[in-house]
């Protein structure tokens, strides 16, 4: 399995927002979406990837990009995680069926959790850029997302 490649249409998927409503391909329309796949809520790193992206969120927004964190945790766990991190980045849950969206995007680790990956999808629903970290322990820098935005 490998992360969906740039130039391909985003696969069909359904994720759950924090309020329980769905987030699907229809919600990609008209915006540049960056899906930030991460293995587990509450896994221990000092400065979390989401905290880092939060710090430059206004610059992502200025370039028209909206970020979402995606994991297989329940919405309850993701909401608690978001609160604990103190970030505003919305979380999307791939809890049930577990990992279905991750599998569709090619980022489901054999262990049943998301790889640490980034997928940028354009307003027309096409994958513009994707990246998977060499291992879940390696956090992708914000600079990689800015590079991808600049290359559109």
């Amino acid at each position: 399995m490998s992360v969906v490649a740039a130039g391909t249409p985003a696969p069909d998927f359904t994720l759950r927002r924090g309020d329980g409503s769905t987030f699907t391909n229809a919600d990609l329309a008209g915006q540049t979406t960056v899906l930030v796949f991460y293995p587990f809520a509450f896994s221990p790193v000092c400065t979390d990837q989401l905290n880092l992206y939060e710090e430059v969120l206004d610059q992502f927004a200025a370039q028209g990009a909206t970020l979402y964190g995606v994991s297989c945790d329940s919405t309850w766990a993701q909401t608690a995680f978001k609160d604990k991190l103190g970030v505003t980045i919305d979380q999307l849950s791939d809890f049930e069926p577990k990992g279905a969206a991750c599998r569709a995007f090619g980022v489901l680790h054999d262990g049943g959790f998301p790889q640490r990956a980034l997928v940028m999808i354009g307003p027309e629903g096409a994958v513009q850029w994707s990246y998977q970290a060499p291992s879940p322990a390696e956090l992708p820098g914000a600079n990689l997302i800015f590079d991808a935005l600049a290359a559109r």
Binding site: C46, T47, N51, L52, E55, Q59, G86, G141, L144
Partner: protein, 164 residues
Amino acid sequence: MSDLGSAPLPSLAVDDHVTGSAEPRAIVYADYECPYCAVLQGRLTDHGAAWAFRHFPVRSKHPRAWAAACAAEAAGLQGRFWAMHALLYGDQARLEDPHLWERARRLGLDLERFDADRRSDAVAARVRRDFESGIRAGVVTTPTVFVDGVAHAGVPDPSVIERL
């Protein structure tokens, strides 16, 4: 707004904060509220390493890190950067404004000037400059130590510190 796409790590500038007697081979991106950074600070000091410090405050994780960084820069404008740096790491649980003022008093700083400077656009730009250079170089966590240009995320092995 600055371009935050990938760019090489900037080499040492004349106003970078450098300590130690030798030519520094390490550039550390850190913040004053991060406990791992405090551990690194201790090890670098114990070893007597030569190194440079750059600010990398991530506010959602460390809410007082930005204010502490500005306090260090303001102290630096009165010639006491490294003294304030040491005092900040010396008590990471006390980084609210009254604690920053107390440290400034202990260092004999002009308090009015310290307070004006730490809230100034110039100091904010200085801290932001360090932070953005880190983003462009791919820094994702604190501390990140660049040794001869190679990044080490987290507190490096003792073998790395011994070489500095």
